[in-house]
Assembly symmetry: D3
Homo-oligomer: 294 residues x 6
């Protein structure tokens, strides 16, 4: 089709399309925000305004069960949330896992007006402008601090003093898409059971400015919403919504059980690998029988 | 000092400090947000709630003057905002500059609940969930689209069709901390005067989800607030608040004038370099004379 | 379930599973290869042995039509082959595209025994051990040389002399997951119409050893089979099987036509963006009408 | 010399050169491959067809001796094979070494036709399309699995279940130019003596397609042939042909002996460093005497 | 101002500026260096010629006190020297620290004339061309070897034999902006108390050429002068001039004391975080009291 | 050999080795440097003290001939200096080459004492502490500025004003292992014939401190000595000693001549590639005849 023909076609369609919205739309005026909205402890987020009503709070019992399951089995139970995964962290406590509820923070690079505004809000709200201090005052047992902080080119979240304060509130660990200071101290015995997963460690103090607290963030290519389930270890970190947890626990537990059976079979060296993993129909039948109460 | 001494000290100070806030503070209840706040065209941001009242709107005349000044002279006039700079972009139109007012967007990696929430809000607000479509409907002449999109590991903002729509609204260019598709088409003549600075180009369609529109974002290690002045070119991009623009224009213009004088002197090959750049007292005096009306 | 129960279960299932293959299987002896198989010009590949019978040869007419279509429209027509895409190349001829049939080569890092074996085969087969020389003797018009060569940590494929020889055979261009020398010469007028996409350019001569000719290779995260359709440009390169070409041409042509229409509509500034891209039902109807012969 | 002179020279040489092969050579027809060649367990490779007859099989005794020697002493004994070295791995078992015979695998990124062809071959050959399953059925004691899998931008080879199966065959370890899943499990006690060296660890399942089994591959900038000697540790991995092993054992053992002597001398703090390392003529004489039977 | 006006101004100022130095200055002849300057053990450096007279020698007592203080507290006491910090090292002895006086070395990539010159100087001076051998002969107890060696694209400094020699002189550790060999051996018990911090580990022998010994070098973005105080650990390395050490010890010790107090308060869970870190006026008063002799 | 035997051997060799130098050598006192050595314009370098007497000064005629030869032909004529090559630069003037004599500079990261010392020396010597200013006063026609400045993590050398001053002295171009500012201006017409090859471009001013002027430096993995021949272009930069230039010119010119002949033959499409490149004995004979005077 030649360009001129297109033009002709376009010209002729004008009349019949009066219902279409025009190029220069007029938009209705925005609703205005209440005066003190900016001092809400949980930063306002349109996304969470939609989602929060249907998100259950993860219980400690659920978290305890989660701790017994390997990362890969949980991954296998997450369906479309599988890809919501981040890696490339250094764990201050290799081998220790971070499991809990996401308490999220978002930071931006500092500049004078941003710092001034953050200070204004902090003063009005009577919280500390330093978000690590807020975590040390506001976090709940079972929380995991999840901080969006610029990744490899970002900045430090905190040091060991803030980590002490945060740990003292029962927080399970910290995931930082950015850095931390005090590596040596965080590796010490005082921080057993409190792993910090960070992209780097640097001696410097903090500088980026906290701008949203418990609102949606991203850690690498994973989105984290406040209240998400966090399962992290040296390999990487999974984040998924709390409403998936029961299903994930069931599926991962079943995976674990079947894989324990398969592992035993492998160690017996009786059957070839492909008949065990996955189970051949015959072995599957045996497995199913073995699970029934006798 | 031994640890035991510290303990003793701590124990004894209890009485005199009753005014201190306790470890387990109780916080006042949060104000609740109005029902339709989530459909505000300009996403609610506590930071902007503080700053917006004192931020002027950059005029076209200011932008026109800005276009005559090199990046480095503007940089030199920015004081504490100098470091608010991002680089590492590929320019679809090498040598063309991006100058205008920041219209910002923030994106997060997709996951089912996030997509669902964004769709809900879009439907309620009668805007398109695709933020590039919103830009093609809502942007104003002189705007520069500034999109936080995950950097080198992020995703695409748009392709040439959206670029056509956005350009047709008088937008001056686009800065993406992430990618774009349709590199070849954006390099074509149809996009003259509409440079796109992106971290990468990829054939794929878009996938990340727009979650904030005209709220604070970061591009690499620079914070960008909606309405900021944007000055970008192949070397990198400066972002600074509009209230600094007049001062920056004056200072950068004076720098340009003096450097033009210095350049002429250098090409004359009469004096040694260090007496010209910076001007020696004697040459400075001559320069000052040359500027007076005669 | 406790571990001991698993063991019990495993022990009891022995009898009923005699049909299962044992851990230590015995395998039938391999067929032996004919003496001169190693001198086949098209290296033997089990994968191609399966696929080749059903792969048509791409015609010049198809390639000519392909040249009129942008990369992104072709991408949109590729279904499950969309992800078979590689990027990160520098094009010696920015803006020129590489379109044709893949002639593939695979190289390995040199070591004395490998060099010796490659020389033995070359002598027996009467070809040149240097695969770029083979391309300059064996390539056909419309071929695109596709070389797996170690990526960013790999080595050079060739220099301008070999490029001259290869171009003289009617080859359309070269895609190297590795390097090339003679950047300046390849940018010169003599190589117009012969783009080389490489990961890097380096002054050194070649060293890696060609081990397979016209057998499956990978270029970054894309698999390339000999005879694949190659569509490359500055943004990246698509590879897909020849049997998909007709369908891709049809679909991409239709996309182009519709997008031309949409582009015209956008430039008219009459309707809002989202009603044009994608076309609203009303505009779609107009578009469909415009395409009918009148 | 001017260009025209070259042309004259070229034109005149035609007659005397009739023996030269022409630009458009005709090639003899290729030998055809036997029907079932594609189901050979050891993939057909022209290179191995030349080399295999003269490559001895490494014995367990040789491997045992190799385990007593440090990587650097073996490196020093490898002559032109020194550079056949790869590094950049993470070892699941820091400090444990991988020593054995290379069982190689080559993988390509998945696409529908490739997957279909691999499945066809696997069915015909009665092996498992998953190459990790083949390793768990076909590997021999003392083998080391060496997988070419795309490096840092590649994919996972396997997880802990396959590792269990492979380990149960007496395999000494795994070297992956790509990734693995189940890091935490592979670090557990069950995998003592079975180090996995990979470029990265990721929670995802496998996707790349095995296309050659026990044929030449490359791991970074090192070529690995099936049956090669593999010596790997945290620092990196050496690969060299089995026919070099006896010589390497002798030379490395002598190096070790001399260096033990030098180390003792250093710790004595009697002589200056440069007279000990390397041994001065006088100390060399003493050393030689010390080695003679007395 | 138009360009022509500038030119006029420039032309007229010629006369009054005769005191300015001319474009083509004549420079006084250089002083000639004494014959044997090139064999000075401490390489001649103009910078050190200025600074050395006022730089004290760090004492062992100072170093011993330094060992009791964490990196971050020392960092906090360094003022403008804080940024003189390097990171990105792998520590052969994770958790062990490198503290001492910098003995610096600078290396350049090898080329025939450079090697020849280095050999000539070494012969004249009666030292070993290999700088690691010089360190093993010339280093003093408490020294830390600091080698500028090309960073990630550089080369190896030494292996375990040289490390044995260097350690035997009482050297505290080694910081290499480049590589080392013999990772496994350096991790062994024989090297307890002798951490090597390097950018990478590689099996190869050394090749870069030592050109300056105990002259200024840089390690990443930190400048190191001979005699500087070095404090390194897994997180990174600080370098600062010896004249700052006393002040740094005092300030860091005070920081430690206060932070111990704060840590105790945090663990008491009595006051909210922000009143403890930093100490509120009331708590500060208590702290000050607690430090007074009672 | 057992460890105890080594010990015995070591103990017994004491007597016969009295001629060996002891562990704790005493070194002769160093020669002292003359007072004003630190103000030598050409920084003192032990390496250059050895090499300078035998290094000729490259003539303009040689440089002019060099400009006619491609990088790769010169590379082929450099023997052991081939590897003295650096790449990874962005050229401000793509396609333009940098050819000349190296005027080298070495920079270190700033810290207060280093800045103070550099200022002291500059004042005593009456030169400008800014080394770009020194280049703008001291460089000679045909020089190429070669600056070691920290590579990708380093800093800026200069901006357009200094470039103007340096260009005005007849300098041929600049190679920076570090950055530059004023990219846009350097790409302008005023800088035609003055290419700047840098690792990056950044808006910031300079900060690293010049510490050696015309002394040995390295650019990536290449060593550059003052007075070296520099041949750079988009692909990379070769550096080699002036005494090799005549030989390189002869060899590269002959290569060019032969390759022109080969290129003509290739374009004739008469003979197969391998008989032309390299020339078969018969064609070689024809070529040799064609070169004789007739």
């Amino acid at each position: 089709m030649k360009r001129s023909q297109v033009l002709v076609a376009v010209i002729f369609l004008g009349l019949s399309l009066t219902a279409q919205k025009q190029f220069d739309q007029t938009f209705p005026p925005d609703v205005s925000a209440p005066d003190r909205l900016r001092t809400k402890r949980t930063s306002y987020s349109a996304i969470m305004d939609v989602l929060r009503p249907t998100r259950p709070r993860v219980t400690q019992a659920q978290l305890d069960q989660l701790k017994t399951l390997p990362l890969e089995s949980i991954f296998g139970a997450l369906g479309d949330y599988r890809l919501n995964y981040a890696r490339g962290f250094t764990n201050t406590r290799p081998g220790e896992r971070v499991i809990g509820r996401a308490l999220t923070m978002r930071f931006l690079p500092p500049r004078p007006d941003l710092v001034r505004a953050a200070e204004t809000v902090a003063k009005e709200a009577d919280w500390d402008r330093r978000y690590y201090a807020r975590a040390a005052e506001e976090a709940q047992p079972g929380d995991v601090i999840v901080a969006e902080l610029g990744g490899a080119e970002g900045h430090n979240l905190f040091g060991a003093m803030a980590a002490t304060g945060i740990k003292s509130r029962g927080v399970s660990g910290v995931v930082i898409d950015g850095g931390s200071r005090d590596l040596a101290e965080l590796q010490g015995d005082a921080f057993k059971g409190f792993p910090v997963l960070a992209k780097f460690f640097h001696v410097t103090t903090t500088s980026w400015v906290g701008v949203e607290f418990n609102a949606p963030v991203h850690i690498g290519t994973a989105t984290v919403l406040p209240g998400d389930v966090v399962v992290g270890e040296d390999e990487g970190v999974l984040f998924f919504p709390p409403e998936m947890l029961d299903r994930a626990l069931t599926a991962a537990t079943e995976t674990e059980r079947r894989e324990a059976y398969e592992r035993e079979l492998l160690l017996q060296k009786k059957y070839r690998f492909r008949d065990i993993y996955p189970l051949s129909p015959a072995l599957r039948e045996e497995y199913d029988k073995s699970r029934k109460p006798r």
